[in-house]
């Protein structure tokens, strides 16, 4: 008897950052193996940071990922400032938030219009069909503006150079920021319409209650500060969060997986824009809340394929928030807070475009790094992606292999997995 066995193998996923694939085995109509395979080469960041002067950390960790270097710089400098007891003044805090807005714009626009979007209108690349060129043009316009804002603050968009422990090497003039305001204003208006565009894409029917995790903050939509919130209602300090999750190595991936420890076993959870939106919807300005409602979307969004809607919301929010910060900005007296490095250890989490990014450093008395742990959002999501695929396969396993393969790829792309990031993780000591 011929065994009823289907294999779906995508050696290399396209339209994601970095190198990863999918391996699925279905036997007798049920998924037996569901693997997101990560074969990105290890770069050993945590290893070569040991012994380096702490000042190198933001430049080094930025190189983990060219798509979200700011996130790496932000989690790094905050963790180090916590160790050294540095409090930055309001204008510097605001500028960091502005830098994050710029990265959200650039990264979300890239994902929405060049990587994930084409899945919904059936293209292999954003430029494949002349019919959809206007969508690409809109996306490129947003992305370009994100890059311009990044460059005003950090000199360039990939691996900005002005971020340092204590603040910035140089802060921008009010005039330089204001010169971007008119363009941001227009982009904000346009981005509100993109929410209904994203909401109108053809999503497959699927809904499930999973555990959404992101930073939460009393006053604002979270970026650089807050506590870790779970959709189950609990919150944890950044340090305590590390004790509620576990990282583990699996044989099919050079990136570690993560899960939440519950009753002695680990369960997947999800970080990213969808989690952020679901947990922080109330902190959005009313205009954006209304745009979402008018688009027919109610929160929480329980369909993981609709992450693109959450990105559209955050794209609009990033423009809104950038404008607010620029309007309030007063040039600070100093670009950074001077400090003396001291021995210590700290954890910090910030919200990268793809979700919560955790850094932990231990610094010795001479200001050098003694140990560090980096847990990027994509590696936290890997186990959740596999669960998402499994749920899909349980209902649709009888479909032809090529249909399943295409759908599986689309499911993974909704997470905007950043595989270059995912690979730089270390076991928790």
């Amino acid at each position: 008897m011929k065994a009823d066995r289907k294999i779906i193998h995508v050696p290399s996923l396209a339209r994601v950052e970095g190198e990863g694939g999918i391996f699925i085995e279905i036997r007798h109509g049920a998924p037996t193996q569901v693997h997101v395979t990560i074969h990105e080469a290890p770069r050993f960041f945590e290893a070569f940071l040991i012994g380096r002067p702490h000042e190198d950390v933001p430049d080094f960790t930025a190189r983990i990922c060219g798509i979200c270097p700011v996130a790496y710089q932000m989690s790094s400098v905050h963790a180090l400032e916590k160790i050294f007891g540095i409090q930055v003044e309001k204008p510097l805090r605001d500028l960091r938030r502005l830098l994050y807005c710029a990265e959200w714009i650039e990264s979300h626009a890239l994902h929405m219009y060049l990587l994930n979007g084409p899945d919904f209108y059936g293209l292999n690349s954003a430029w494949e069909s002349k019919n959809e060129q206007s969508i690409l043009a809109r996306g490129v316009r947003f992305k370009k503006l994100g890059n311009e804002l990044l460059a005003v603050l950090g000199g360039r968009s990939v691996h900005p150079v002005s971020v340092r422990v204590g603040g910035f090497t140089r802060t921008p003039s009010k005039k330089a920021l204001l010169s971007l305001a008119p363009k941001l204003e227009t982009a904000y208006e346009e981005s509100l319409k993109e929410i209904s565009w994203a909401a109108s894409l053809p999503f497959p029917e699927t809904a499930w209650d999973t555990v959404w995790v992101s930073l939460v903050h009393d006053e604002e939509y979270p970026m650089n500060e807050g506590t870790m919130g779970f959709s189950t209602g609990e919150t944890f300090s950044m340090d305590a969060f590390l004790e509620t999750v576990i990282e583990f190595q699996v044989s099919h991936s050079t990136a570690l997986h993560a899960g939440r420890i519950r009753d002695g076993s680990q369960t997947p959870y999800m970080v990213g824009p969808l989690s952020r939106l679901n947990l922080n919807h109330a902190k959005l300005p009313t205009a954006i809340q209304s745009a979402l409602k008018d688009a027919g979307i109610s929160v929480p969004i329980r369909n993981t394929r609709m992450a693109i809607v959450a990105r559209a919301v955050e794209l609009a929010y990033a423009f809104y928030e950038a404008l607010r910060i620029i309007a309030d900005y007063e040039e600070p007296d100093r670009a950074f807070v001077p400090y003396e490095p001291v021995e210590g250890e700290a954890v910090w989490i910030t919200e990268a475009p793809r979700g919560s990014l955790m850094h932990r450093y231990r610094v010795g008395s001479t200001g050098r790094i003694e140990s560090c742990t980096i847990i990027p959002p994509t590696s936290q999501n890997l186990a959740h992606m596999e669960m998402d695929l499994r749920l899909f396969l349980e209902s649709f396993a009888s479909e032809p292999t090529d249909v399943l393969r295409r759908e599986a790829e689309k499911i993974i792309r909704c997470y905007d997995p950043c595989i270059s990031c995912a690979v730089h993780v270390i076991s928790l000591i």
Binding site: A41, P42, R43, A47, F48, F60, G66, P69, S125, N147
Partner: protein
């Protein structure tokens, strides 16, 4: 006329130089008009077929399979351009070249024996012939456009052989080294960024790699006179171009 077929590849890297291709923004649409985009997995779901006129390669060779990959890319491509510090110098991950791989693995993974990696991370030019190198971590969109235009016109791209210092002078930026005593790598670093860091009041940290005939040893001797110890001097070189800076230093000694 037939459009040249372009392929964009990645080895070990952060994706930042490939992102620079997408960051061409308005020119991106022109790029996909002027070239036939034959392979670019970061942005296109299309398998690699046939031969290429031009391959742009990001990343260093750092795991066993990449030694074959880069030979395959070379065999398929009429021209090959290495993009960025990873591809031209081994990147930040080349810091392992001076360390013990086993201890690197052990400090990063719970089951280190399952992790495949070479003990070195090396530039592409150590494995195959490279027609042209684009420096920087990341490369700039300007240099990329210039190179692609030059390719289309069949001429050499304009390469700056001089140092970042020349760009500081041109932009009227006060010298951080002379006037403030800050350890700046500008004198030995290749130009191309328009003196970005000095313009933001920080010393150059060498992301474009060593310029031609850089007197690295001479500059470090100067830093030592300023009060830096040997370890601090070495740490300045050991960044995203550690491999080529260490080589340039040895050359400047002889």
């Amino acid at each position: 006329m037939k459009k040249p077929r372009l392929g964009i590849f990645k080895l070990t890297s952060c994706d930042g130089c490939q992102l620079t291709v997408l960051n061409l923004e308005d020119d991106l649409v022109r790029l996909v008009d002027l070239f036939e985009m034959a392979y670019f997995p970061e942005a296109m779901d299309k398998p690699l077929r046939g031969t290429l006129d031009l391959a742009l390669v990001e990343g260093s060779v750092s795991v066993p399979r990449q030694r074959n990959t880069i030979v395959e890319i070379r065999e398929r491509s009429r021209h090959l351009i290495a993009m960025g510090s990873c591809a031209t110098s081994g990147g930040l991950q080349a810091l392992r070249n001076w360390a013990n791989l086993a201890s690197y693995k052990a400090s990063t993974y719970p089951s280190p024996q399952a992790v495949q990696a070479l003990s070195t991370s090396t530039p592409i030019s150590e494995h195959v012939h490279v027609d042209y190198e684009l420096y920087g971590c990341p490369i700039t969109t300007q240099a990329l456009s210039e190179t692609l235009v030059a390719f289309l016109l069949g001429r050499r791209p304009m390469l700056r052989g001089y140092s970042v210092c020349m760009e500081c002078k041109r932009h009227g930026i006060p010298c951080l080294l002379v006037s403030q005593g800050q350890p700046c790598l500008g004198p030995v670093t290749r130009a191309g960024c328009e003196a970005l860091c000095p313009s933001l009041e920080r010393p150059c940290y060498g992301c474009f790699g060593p310029k031609e005939d850089a007197n690295v040893d001479g500059l470090l001797a100067w830093f030592e006179k300023m009060g830096l110890n040997a370890r601090e001097c070495q740490a300045l070189l050991d960044k995203m171009n550690t491999y080529t800076f260490r080589k340039a230093r040895l050359e400047s000694r002889s």
